[in-house]
Amino acid sequence: MTGAKPAVGTVAASAKPAAALFPVAPPPFSDGVFPCSECHKPGDKVDRVPHKVEFHEDIVLHHDEKNRWCLDCHDAAHRDSLHLADGRLIPFTESYRLCGQCHGPTLRNWKAGEHGKRTGSWSGAKQYLLCPSCHSPHSPHFKPLKPKSPPLRQEAIK
């Protein structure tokens, strides 16, 4: 059986040499939201004071929401990019650099293969998942899952 499932994504051919170190699956955008510049135009007036956003009501921020809001990660001038705390722009395919600003040890473990799932080959080419592939960046805590059925009890086996 081949290990690579199409759902996991393939080795990303990123333009940035830094990203080539970590072959990640494509970012898991919700349908119809990307590119952001479809709606957000460069000349738009931007209110930089944190406020409730009307259009993206389905996004509930549950990620240090008292201290942070949209434009701490999303860039108002370059809508299809994210930015680091120092203002440097990064593509969505390198979002782990953004997450790693606060979650340093997690980024270190992710790079080493301890944090997160890797698929493919233990000895060769493997696929990583971006942080948002498992943790919604707006509400990163894992949601509970329905477990698969328990094994049969011995007395139930005929």
Binding site: G3, G113, E114, K117, K148, S149, P150, P151, I157
Partner: protein, 312 residues
């Protein structure tokens, strides 16, 4: 074994040249039994070939080829689709190791059923290689108070943690020591394997394993043909006959080709880690060197290559 003094049974015809005494005895017995029912048809010959097959390690390359071809033919016929049976040898310079992060496992049992699909376990009667134990966070790892039959609406349940247990691939494996016929042994890459054709079904290994990792085929294994994984290994996931023991082989058919075991790939929380213990840059080595790992029932000196740890 060959030193046992037994009265030789009468052999109908002198055995062909090159046969050992053991084979001659078996042949004689089989010929007697066969003569009582049918005679001379090809299915008898096939059954005979299987019956007199040597131990896996004693097969010459030619004999192994014949055996694999026979199995492929039989399985292809049985399941109505092409089935391959290979005997991929262990890689040089590889000793496999496994790690599982207990702080991440949520007990969803995706690994249990991924394993069943991948390794052709019997569906009915049910065989699972992985047992996921639910335990109290307050008590910690307490095997006497573990529950494998939990059935919650959602997991993880409040106040519980989960510990999947399967074959620990011990370096000092008690199961292979007690086998009276040498049908189970540790391979050079550290995987404990079973020659299902040599196993006599005595279940001594099941009694010897301190981890409850081995399974016996009490009934005829049953795998729906459309669910059969047709890529199989002689020492791994080929369909097993009734009356033999089987267990996890860390997906020998995958890992010897460089792939991760199936359970690693299906785990939704990335709790399962796998790699080469001899490679200092592997993720398994990173975990052993940087995390607080422990092994199950360390005091028994079984030296498992399966490491549990708390990543958080």
């Amino acid at each position: 074994m060959s030193d046992l003094t037994v009265t030789p049974l009468p052999v109908p015809e002198p055995p062909a040249e090159g046969f050992t005494r053991r084979e001659a005895l078996i042949l004689g017995l089989f010929a007697l039994a066969g003569a009582a029912t049918t005679s001379g048809c090809s299915s008898d010959q096939k059954a005979m070939d299987e019956f007199v097959q040597k131990h896996f390690k004693d097969l010459s390359p030619e004999e192994l080829k014949t055996v694999l071809a026979r199995m492929e033919k039989n399985l292809t016929k049985k399941y109505g689709k092409p089935v391959t049976v290979s005997a991929t040898p262990a890689m040089e310079g590889v000793l496999f190791g496994y790690a599982l992060d207990l702080s991440r496992c949520i007990g969803c049992r995706r690994c249990v059923y991924g394993c069943v699909d991948e390794n052709n376990q019997s569906r009915d009667p049910q065989t699972h290689y992985i047992t996921v134990l639910e335990m109290d966070k307050e008590k910690g790892v307490d095997l006497q108070d573990a529950n494998a039959y939990y059935d919650h609406e959602t997991v993880p349940a409040e106040g519980k943690f989960y510990m999947p247990v399967s074959c620990q691939q011990c370096e000092n494996s008690p199961c292979s020591k007690v086998c009276p016929v040498g049908a189970t042994w540790k391979e050079p890459d550290g995987i404990v394997v079973i020659d299902y054709n040599w196993c006599i079904g005595c279940r001594s290994c099941i009694a010897a394993c301190p981890y409850g990792a081995r399974r016996f085929n009490w009934g005829e294994p049953n795998i729906p043909a459309d669910e059969l994984n047709p890529v199989t290994e002689y020492l791994g996931n080929r369909p097993r006959p009734r009356g033999v023991v089987e267990k996890c082989t860390w997906c020998l058919h995958r890992v010897r080709k460089g792939l991760y075991p199936k359970c690693v790939e299906v785990c939704p929380v990335g709790a399962r880690k796998f790699g080469n213990l001899l490679d200092p840059d592997s993720e398994i080595r990173y975990i052993i060197e940087n995390k607080r790992v422990f092994i199950l029932k360390e005091e028994l000196n079984t030296q498992p290559k399966f490491f549990y740890y708390y990543g958080l």
